[in-house]
C-alpha cells in the first residue's frame, strides 16, 4: 500500500484549560485534495500547525510522506508547502527577495529559482509588483506571493489555511486551477477553510471537525448518504453535523 501523504494517528493537543484536538485520526492520499471544515475554535488551525511542525501534539503521531514530523522534521518538511491564513512576510523584503530567500532555504539551485519565479509570476501577472517592498503590497498580492513561494520547491504536499481570502475573482479561479493541476500531477492538498463553496468544488474528500473531534469524513456523496439528504448542499450537511439545523 502507498504511504499516505499525510497521516495523523490518535492525535491530541492539550493547551492549559483547553483540549483543542481530541484523538484525531485521518489520512490524505497522494493526489488527493482533502478539506477540513468546522466552526471557529473547532481545532482546524491547531491541526494545521501540528502537520506543519509549528506545534507538537500532546500525544499521537503526525507523518508527512511517511516521515514523523516530530522526530524527523527536516525531512518531513522538505516536500511540504504551507500557505497560512495570514500571509505575513518580512516587510523590509521585496517580493522577489522573499521568493529567492525561500527557494534558497529549500535548497533549490539558484538558476532554477529564477526560472521558476519567472514562470509562476507570469501565472498571476505579478511581474510589475514583485520588486516592490512587501510592506506596500495589497492583501491579495501578499497571498499570491506566499502561494508562489510555496510552489517554488515543487512540494509533494501542500497544507493550506484559507486558500482564497483576499484574492480577486480572477486570481481565485487561477488558484483553484493551480491546485487542481497540482493534485492531478500527484501532489496532495490538505486545506482548511470556511468558504464551503471552495471545499465543495475542490476537495475529493471533506472532513468536519467540531470541538476538536472529527464528526464526519467522506466524499460529498458519502456525506449526503450518511445524512440521508441526497440533495443537500455542503453548507446544509455542515450545519447538521455541527448541531445547527439549516
Amino acid at each position: 500500500m502507498d504511504t499516505p501523504a499525510i497521516a495523523l494517528n490518535a492525535v491530541n493537543k492539550k493547551f492549559p484549560n483547553v483540549h483543542a484536538v481530541k484523538d484525531l485520526t485521518l489520512s490524505v492520499d497522494k493526489g488527493e485534495i482533502y478539506a477540513l471544515i468546522g466552526p471557529n475554535g473547532a481545532g482546524k488551525t491547531t491541526t494545521v500547525k501540528m502537520i506543519t511542525g509549528l506545534i507538537s501534539p500532546s500525544s499521537g503521531t503526525v507523518e508527512v510522506l511517511g516521515k514523523n514530523v516530530e522526530k524527523d522534521p527536516v525531512h518531513a518538511k522538505k516536500h511540504l508547502g504551507y500557505i497560512p491564513d495570514d500571509p505575513f512576510v518580512y516587510d523590509y523584503l521585496t517580493g522577489r527577495e522573499f521568493l529567492e530567500l525561500t527557494g534558497t532555504l529549500y535548497e533549490v539551485p539558484r538558476g532554477e529559482i529564477k526560472s521558476r519565479i519567472k514562470k509562476l509570476l507570469a501565472l498571476y501577472n505579478m511581474e510589475s509588483v514583485i520588486d516592490g517592498l512587501f510592506a506596500d503590497y495589497s492583501r491579495g498580492n501578499k497571498q499570491k506571493t506566499v502561494i508562489i513561494a510555496n510552489l517554488l520547491h515543487e512540494p509533494q504536499v501542500l497544507v493550506i489555511d484559507e486558500p482564497i481570502i483576499g484574492l480577486d475573482v480572477q486570481s481565485q479561479k487561477i488558484t483553484q486551477k493551480l491546485f487542481r493541476q497540482f493534485a492531478k500531477d500527484g501532489g496532495s492538498i490538505f486545506l482548511c477553510t470556511h468558504t464551503l463553496a471552495v471545499a465543495q468544488e475542490l476537495a475529493h474528500r471533506i472532513a468536519i471537525l467540531n470541538d476538536g473531534q472529527l464528526v464526519e469524513e467522506g466524499t460529498l456523496t458519502e456525506l449526503r448518504e450518511k445524512a440521508h439528504e441526497k440533495l443537500a448542499s455542503l453548507e446544509e450537511l455542515y450545519l447538521l453535523s455541527t448541531g445547527e439545523k439549516p
Partner: protein, 541 residues
Amino acid sequence: MSQAQALLRLDFLRIRNWFGSFVATKIIVFLGFALVLGLIVAAEFFMARTFFMFTSTQEEFGRAVARYSINAALLLLFLVSIGSSIAVSMGSLYRSELMQFLLTTPIPAVKLFTIRLVNAMFSSMWLVILLLTPLLVAFGMSFSPGGDFILRSLVVLLLLIVSSHSLGGAITVLLVKKTGRLSRVSLMVVFAMVIAGSLLLVRFLFPPSFFRLYFAVDWPTFQRQLGQLPLLASSLPTNWLALTITDGWSMATLAAALGSAIVLGTTLYIGKRLFLESWKKAQEGRFLAGKQNPHGIVSSGYPSVFKGAAGVLLTNELLAVMRSPAEATYAAFLTGLTIVLLFMMRSVPALQNAAPALLPAVYSLSLAGVSYLFMTLAVRLVYPLIAKEKRSVWFIFSLPVKRETLLLSKAAFALVLTLPSIPLALIAGLFMQLTSGVLAAYICLLVISTATVSLIQLLLGTIAPNFSESRNLDAVSTSGSGLAAIALSLAYISLSGFAFFKVAIGETTALVSVVTMTMLSLVWLGLLSMLSRRALHRYNL
C-alpha cells in the same frame, strides 16, 4: 467624558490591562526594573557626589568647574531628550495602528496631535528625570545652592522636558512632511548627521581652550578663559537653565520659561497645520496592486553574501536592521553616544597629573560604559530576535531547516553586532594611553564582554520570548526574561570592569583576568544554550 479624557484613558487602560494577568510575575518584573534603574541612578549619584565633593574643596575654581559640568550635562540631556522624543513621537504619531482608527473618528487632528504629543512626553520624560535628578541632588548636597534649590530644580526639569519634547515633536512632523517614508539614502544622511553632530558636540563641550584651564595660574585668568568657552555663551538656552540651578532665579529663568513657551506654541501650530498632511504622506508609500511597474522600482535579487541556511538567515537579520528606519536610527543614536564617550576618554590622560589614583577606576568605568552601550543595542536588536518572529513563524518554522540552525543564524547576527567593539577598544585604549599589556587586556575583556552580553540577550530571549509584545520592539524586553537578561548582562559587565580594575592596579595579570572571564562566559552561555535549545522546540504559537 470628553474626547481628550477618553484618549488619555486609553493609556490608563493599557497599563491596567497589562497588570490584569500574571500579576505576581509582572509585579516582580516591575520591581526588578525599579531595582535595576535604582542601581543605575545610585551609581550615577555616587560618581557625581564624589566629583562635586572634590570640586567643592577647590573654592572658586571648583565651583566654576561644577557649574560648567551642570551646564554640559543639561546640554547633553537636552539633545538626548530631543533624540528620544523624535523616536517616541515617530511611533506614537505615525506608526501606531491605533492612530489609523482614531483618524477615522470625528476627533480634530490637532487634538489628537496634542494628546499623542503629551503621551510621548510622559513616555520618554523619565529618561531626563532619572539622569538629571542624581546629578542635581549631588550638586545640592555638595554646595549650598540656597533654600529654594528644590523648587528651582523642578522648574528647570519641567522647562527642559517641555522644550526638548516640543522641539522633538516639531522636528518629527517636519521630517515626515519632508521625506514621507524614510528612504535608505535619507537614513544614511541621518546616520552621518548624528555622527557628525556628536563630533561637533564633543568639540563644543571640550574645546582645546577647555584643557588650558588647568594651567591658569590665578583666578582672573581662569575666569576669563572659562567665560570664553562656547558652552557658557549667554545666548544658549541651556545656559539659562544652568544659571537657574547654580545661581538662583534671574532674568535667565524668565528667558528659559519664555523660550520653552514659544517652542511649545510653535510645535502646536506646526501640528495644527502639518500633522494630518504629513500623516497621510507617511501612509501613502507605493501601493502595489496594479499592472504597471511603479516608477523607481528596480529588480534586485536576494543578496547572496553568506552561504548555507544559517548564512541566508543571517543576511535576512542584517537586512531587517538596515532597512528599518527605527532600528537604523537607534543604532545611529548609540553610535553618537559612543563617539561622545570615546572623545571623553581622550581627556583621561590629563588625570595623570591631577589625580593619578583615580586612573584605574576611570579605565574600568570606560570599559563598563562601552559594554553598557553595546548592551542597550543588544536589548533592542538581539533580545527580541525570536519574539519578533511570531507572525512569520508559519514561514520560519515550517522550513526544512533545523531550529538550531535558526538560532545559530541569530547568534551570528548577535556577534556581528559586537564586531565594532574591536576597533572601539583599540581606539579607547590608545586615547587613554594604556600600556601595551593593559591595552591587550582592555581589548580582550571588552570584546568578550560585549559578545557575552549579546549572546545572553539572545539566549534568554529564546528561553522565554515575549511573544505578547512581538510587534512592539521597544516593549519586548519588559518581561521576566527581559529583566533577567538585563540583570545578568549588568552583572557580567560589572565583573568585567572589576577584572580589568585588578589588571590596572597590578593585582593580577592580563592573562589570568582574560582566562577567568572567558571561563565564566563559557559556563554561563553553555548553560543558557542548553535551556534555549530545549525551549526552541516547545513554543505553542
